[in-house]
Structure formats: C-alpha cells, structure tokens
C-alpha cells in the first residue's frame, strides 16, 4: 500500500501513467472510436490534418491516419507486451539458473549472455525475421531473442544476493527441490526489480518493432505505427502528417512507459534508485 502511495506522489511517474493509460484506452476503444477497418480507403488521398472527417489527415490511399494510429496502438502494445514476456521467460530462466547454481553453470550462462550483448541485436532481429518470414509471431520471437540479456543479468544479480540469505539456506537445508526454492523463495523477493526492467523492455520492444516494420519486415496484414512511418517515408515531402503523427505516438508511448518504469524503480527499489 505504501508503495502505491509513494508512486502516487511520484510526479513524472504519474504523468507517464496518465499518458500510458490514455494510450491503452485508445487501443482498447479503437473499434468503437473508429469502427471502420483502418485499411479502408475512406477519403481522398493526401488530405491534410483537420480535413473533413479526417483529424490527422489521410494517407496516399485515402486511409484515415487517426484510425491507423488508434488501431496501431493495439498492435504496438500487444507486440511490446508479448515479446517482453518472451524475453522475460528466456532472461529470467537463464539468470536464475546462473545465479542459483553459480560456479561453472554461472560461467557458461554469463558467457552466453555476454555474447548476445555483443551481437548487434537489431541486425540479429532483422536476420531472424527475414529468414523465418515477416509474420507477427516471428517478429515477437525475434524481439524476445534479442532483448533478454539485461533481464538475465539483473535476475542473476538478484539471485546471487538472495541465494546466501538465511530463509533461502533454510529452505535448501529442509531438502526442498531447487525449482521449489527458486519459485517459492527467491523469485518472489527478486520480482520487483525484474518488473521495473521488464516494463522498460516493453518500451524498447515497441521501438524495435517499429524499426522492423519501417524496414519492411512487419506483418503486412497488421497496421502498426512502424508500418505507417515506413509507408510515409517516401511521401514525406507531400504529406508530413503521415510520418509525424505515428512517430509522435511511438515517442509518447515509449516516453510514458519509461517514466512509469522509472517511477516504479524509485518506489519499489529505493535501494538502487537514482540519487537525486
């Protein structure tokens, strides 16, 4: 409860939360706000913002940019969350194994993690999507694969810290199985920094997805913000609004998630939070 209270008193965190809520509401209510398919050609091509019925203008086929942004919010958020969950599963598993067992296992796990941090992640993501095919599942998988190392490192550090604690040692002495100890004893105590880093990972997942779409590696059946900017790039001289608004949408969402993440960080882990 006190955590909630202190978060509520965190000004930038609250700003972020409000913006993020607005984006989520937009995403959820998109089918009501813009009941038409965002791909439908509802107006004349290249209508500037504030044209009749088209708040944010239309694209080269006469599709509503505002509808695209609302529906795109769903795609971007869904991809951000699911791919973060994917990277959480990978990262936490590896980090927990390394931190719990230590020694040789830790050595091997950390070498792997280090390697993944050395490889240019975005290029790996490009390669993965290109070989597996531009489908939403592959995009999510690729983002998951390239964004787990920080989570693994963090989990490992937390596990190493908690591993020597009395309540963990006690559980081990009682003969509880390692999996039980990890899931019941250590993980619950390590969860808050993982949540914070995970929330920040959602932001970076959204950025990676948009960059992939921009490079033409998005799912062609899904209207995402990155796709909109990618399609707008070549017509930037005729229609600035086609690239400006989806870009702002990404910027605001990512910013909001970062602010919330930092707010959480300051309230959940005052121990490691930035000193003011």
């Amino acid at each position: 409860m006190s955590t909630l209270k202190s978060f509520l008193r965190h000004p930038t965190g609250m700003i972020g939360l409000f913006v993020l809520l607005a984006v989520v509401i937009l995403a959820v209510s998109a089918p009501w706000l813009f009941p038409d398919d965002p791909w439908d050609m509802v107006g004349a091509p290249f209508q500037p913002p504030l044209s009749e019925g088209l708040w944010l203008g239309s694209d080269m086929l006469g599709r509503d940019v505002a509808a695209g942004i609302a529906h795109g919010a769903r795609i971007s958020l869904i991809i951000g969350v699911i791919s973060t969950l994917t990277s959480l599963i990978i990262g936490v598993t590896i980090g927990a194994t390394a931190g719990y067992f230590g020694g040789k296992v830790d050595e091997v796990m950390m070498r792997i993690t280090e390697l993944f941090q050395t490889i240019p992640g975005f290029i790996l993501a490009i390669l993965l999507v290109a070989t597996l095919g531009p489908k939403i599942s592959n995009v999510i998988f690729a983002i998951g694969i390239v964004s787990w190392p920080p989570l693994a490192r963090l989990t490992r550090a937390e596990f190493m810290r908690l591993r020597g604690r009395e309540f963990v040692q006690a559980a081990v002495c009682q003969g509880q199985r390692p999996l039980t100890v990890v899931l019941r004893r250590i993980l619950p105590n390590a969860i808050s920094p993982i949540i914070v880093t995970g929330s920040l990972a959602v932001a970076s997942a959204i950025l990676i997805e948009s960059a992939l779409s921009f490079m033409g590696l998005g799912d062609p059946n899904l209207m995402s913000w990155g796709f909109m900017i990618g399609a707008a790039r070549t017509v930037i001289r005729q229609a600035w609004w086609m690239s400006v608004f989806p870009g702002l949408a990404i910027l605001l969402t990512v910013l909001a998630i970062n602010l919330v993440g930092e707010g959480l960080n300051d309230t959940l882990n005052p121990r490691i939070s930035r000193k003011r």
Binding site: D37, W39, P45, M60, G133, D219, P220, N221, A231, T234
Partner: protein, 528 residues
C-alpha cells in the same frame, strides 16, 4: 539561407554544391557535347545485356550494345546497325545489309560474323527470350562482311519485330567465341559497338559512359558522356530531379505519388511515351488450379468487384490506362470489341451466390492468399487496395510478403493463390502475349510462362495459327477471335496498361523518339 550559404557558414567550399557544368558547344543542327546525368536503380549486376536481362541492365546496356533494328513508336522497323533488309515472299529468308565502318569499343570491326555468332550461338544459350525466337533460325549465312542471311525453319511473322537491342544485342565474336560466356573476364569491360562505352563503374555510386569515338553514324553520338547514378531511395531520386542534378528519369525512378507534383517543375517535360515496344501489361494473376478460382464465374466476379478506375487513381495516381483484355492497345493486333466487366459489387455478389459461395457469419465467403510482388511500395499499396475492395464482396485476402527469390520461386512453381504480375508484350502477341495462355507453355519453375495453368485447346490452336500466318489481315482475324474467348474466360484479371513517367530535361532532344525509348542507344540524343 540556402544550402550554399549554409555550407559557406560551415566553412565548407561551395564549389561542390554548385551546378554541374555541361560543357556544351553549339554546332550546326544539333548541339554537340554535354553530359547527361540520369538514374539507374536498382544497380545492375552486370552490363552485358546478352547475359542478363533485368530492366536496369537493359536500360544501361542499350547504350553499349546495338542490334540489327530499331523501332518507331508504332513499332515499324527502322535501321539499326542494319541499313536495309529483305524478306523472301515465303517468309523463310531474311537478308540484312550492315552499315559499313562499324567498330567495337576495342577498335575491332563489327562484321556479319559477329551478328551470326551473337544470334545463333551466344544468345540462344544465355538469353531465354532470344532463345525462344532465334532458335527458329535454321542457319545463318555470311556471304560478305556486311551481309547476313537468316534461313528460318518455318515462317515466323514476328521475327522482324524481335531484333531490338534488348532481344538481339550484338556481341564481339572475337571475345566470346569458344569461351565460357558467363565467366569471360571481358564481361567486366562490356565491349559492344554502341555509341557509348564504359569508362568507369563505381559500385554503389555510378556508371560512367563516354562517347565511342569510332561510332559509325556521322556526328553521332552528340553527347560526350552519360552518367547513370545509382540512387536506391525513391525520395532521394525525386530530390535529385527537383534540384536539377539529373536530366532524365525512366521506368519507376520516380514513384507515382511524386509524378503530379514533379510534373509542375518548369525545366522538365513528363511523358509516358517510349514504352510502346514493351507495352507492360499488368494483371492480377489467379492460380486456376486452386478452388474456387478454377470456376470461370469466380474469376468474372473478381473482375466485376475490382474498382480499377479508383485503383488507377489512388494507387497509380491516374497514370495507367485500364486494360480491356490480354493484348495491350499499344501492341499490334489489339481488339477493342470485347466483353467489358464494369465495376459492380452486385454483379460480383450475384455470380458468387450463383456458385453457391455464401457468406459465412463473419461475412467471408472464401479466404485466399495474395503474394505481394517484392518490387517496391506501389505493389504493396496495390495489394492493400485489392484486399480492401475484394473484402467488400466477401472475398477475404491475406497478404503475404516475400523477397524477390521467394516470389519467383513460389510463383513459378505454382505455390501461390493470387499475386500481381506484369509482363512485357514485345510488340507482337506471338512474342509477348500467347506465352501466358497456351497450354504448351505450362512449365513448372519458369517465370512468365503460363503460371495460372489456364488451358483451352481452341485458344492454343488460334495462337499457334496466328504466329505462323504471314498475312497481317489473317493474323488480325485470328487474334481478334482469341481475345474474345480469353476475355470471356478471364484466366487472369487484366488491370492496367502500365505507364511509366519519363521526366526529360527540356533541353534534351530525341530521348523517346523510338518505341524502345530509354533503352535505345541515345546516339541521336542531344542538348538542344
């Protein structure tokens, strides 16, 4: 403040940013000299047109390699390196007289031997389209260095329409004879007999051509240099045009959405002429083997459901003409009096209902996959348009993205449901049209064959007869008949006679004076 002033402010010399000196000198008649800056994209893998027939290779290679004939915009043959020609009454013997004094870029003379070698030895091995035509040559005779005689196996009326620089480029025999054509080290040099020769090719940047001093036509070429700049990015290409850095664009250098805006530039003329020989025909390809596309009514329903007028406006910005059937109106033997499929959702729905394809609870009657051709954004937009319009009659389309290799592989091996296709007609239905519809050309693994798998014995017979008939009236009769049958059957949904915007600096003369347009040698192109 503009860029030049800003550059000065930044302490950078502005010389680099000022205009490019053209170096023109006025002479009698046409102006001599000058550098033509234009665009090539994507970068060709090689410049030898006999070895590679991708469009950029052909555009650039057309300046380096010449052929026997050129063609007027209405596809009448004109002298190329052959100054005259004769056809025997039985249509079996073709005799060509070459211009005297033609030399290759390495200084060696071009003789009838080179022509015979190119057309009967090298091209049939390296150039699939040329093989289909020139393999009809029984033998080539070279009585003297300036005369070449082709004896055909059987009459083939379109032969005289198939001697342009993209189909029959003449290569030097002394370089290629007896070598592994594809691995010949001289390929990098690209030695032809055209008005321009390769000076330098900086990969990823530009290809620099300079005039061939030993060119056989008096005063030609007028230009000193042609520089093809490799600009992969569409926005950058438009900008280069706007800033006057280039004097010519071709094919899809300028994307359709930029055409209207750039047409207003005072220094350029925009034309869609110069593509008559190719007459690219664009259609929605339906795999006739896949249900329900095997049913004529389903294909007719799609023809009714596609709002081509609106598609031409929105996707292609009003550039293309709507196609009425398998033959382009720019190609010979076009028949305009065929069945028309007007845009009508009602008619489309009625046909689908008649087939028993009722909409499900979600309004979908059938779901089909559309493989987007990987040739740029416009194809992407076209796919999106097709999906949205067909969705209105309950035909649900799932778009699939792929790469060039993947598209060709899936398409040519019939592993697709729908895709977009664009096929050149090459001036004569026997050269560019029949291949899409005759059953003998259902060939797995071959692109631009009868990939849809349409088969109609009557159509086969008519096309066959028309190709060997020597009388044009008879040919017209046969082609009119086959066009009517095909339009009734709609094996594919013809959409547009593709149009490409060519922007030409107003000082330039003779750029699109022939039906081969920008592929032409440019020997007569000049500044003023």
């Amino acid at each position: 403040m503009n860029r030049r002033e800003f550059a000065k402010l930044m302490g950078v010399s502005a010389v680099a940013l000022s205009g490019i000196p053209l170096g023109i000198t006025r002479a009698a008649g046409q102006t001599k000299g000058g550098t033509l800056n234009t665009i090539i994209q994507p970068e060709p893998p090689i410049l030898v047109t006999a070895l590679n027939q991708q469009q950029p290779t052909l555009t650039l290679g057309g300046k380096i390699y010449e052929s026997l004939l050129r063609y007027s915009p209405d596809l009448k043959p004109m002298p190329g390196i052959a100054q005259s020609w004769e056809v025997s009454p039985d249509g079996l013997t073709y005799t060509f007289k070459l211009f005297p004094g033609i030399t290759f870029h390495d200084g060696k003379p071009l003789t009838s031997e080179d022509v015979a070698f190119s057309m009967t030895k090298m091209l049939p091995e390296t150039h699939a389209r040329a093989r289909a035509i020139y393999s009809r040559i029984d033998k080539a005779e070279t009585p003297d260095p300036l005369t070449v005689i082709f004896k055909m196996k059987a009459p083939f009326a379109p032969f005289l329409t198939a001697l342009d620089c993209t189909t029959g480029p003449i290569v030097p025999k002394h370089i290629y004879d007896g070598s592994d054509f594809r691995k010949n080290p001289a390929n990098a040099q690209a030695i032809g007999s055209g008005p321009f020769k390769l000076k330098e090719w900086v990969k990823g940047s530009h290809v620099h051509l300079v005039r061939h001093e030993g060119y056989y036509r008096k005063d030609e070429p007028y230009l000193d240099e042609v520089i093809y700049r490799i600009i992969p990015d569409a926005a950058s290409r438009s900008l280069a045009l706007e800033q006057g850095k280039i004097q010519l664009t071709q094919w899809n250098d300028i994307e359709f959405y930029d055409v209207v805006r750039l047409s207003k530039l005072p220094n350029y003329e925009m034309t869609t002429k110069g593509y008559e020989y190719f007459a690219p025909h664009q259609w929605l390809e339906l795999n006739n083997r896949v249900k329900p596309m095997d049913d004529k009514r389903f294909r007719q329903a799609i023809a009714h459901a596609l709002d081509l007028k609106s598609m031409a406006q929105r996707v292609y910005f009003g550039m293309p003409k709507i196609a009425t059937g398998p033959v382009s109106s720019k190609t010979r033997f076009y028949e305009k009096d065929v069945k028309r499929y007007d845009y009508s959702l009602e008619k489309a729905k009625a046909l689908l209902d008649e087939m028993g394809l009722k909409p499900g609870a979600d309004g979908k009657r059938v779901t089909l996959k559309y493989l987007i051709p990987p040739y740029g954004e416009v194809y992407q937009r076209a796919g999106e348009f097709i999906r949205q319009t067909l969705g209105r009659v309950g035909i649900d389309i799932q778009l699939e993205n792929t790469d060039v290799g993947g598209w060709a592989d899936k398409f040519s091996n019939w592993d697709y449901e729908m895709t977009g296709n664009l096929v050149y007609q090459y001036g004569d239905p026997a050269l560019g049209v029949s291949r899409t519809y005759i059953s003998s050309n259902i060939k797995k693994g071959i692109l631009f064959s009868n990939t849809a798998g349409y088969s109609n014995p009557e159509v086969d017979k008519l096309f066959d007869e028309a190709a060997s008939a020597t009388d044009d009236t008879r040919r017209q009769e046969l082609y009119s008949k086959v066009q009517k049958i095909l339009v009734e059957d709609v094996p594919v949904i013809w959409m547009f006679e593709a149009a490409y915007p060519t922007f030409i600096d107003k000082r330039l003369k003779n750029v699109t004076s022939t039906g081969v347009g920008v592929h032409e040698s440019f020997s007569s192109v000049s500044f003023g």
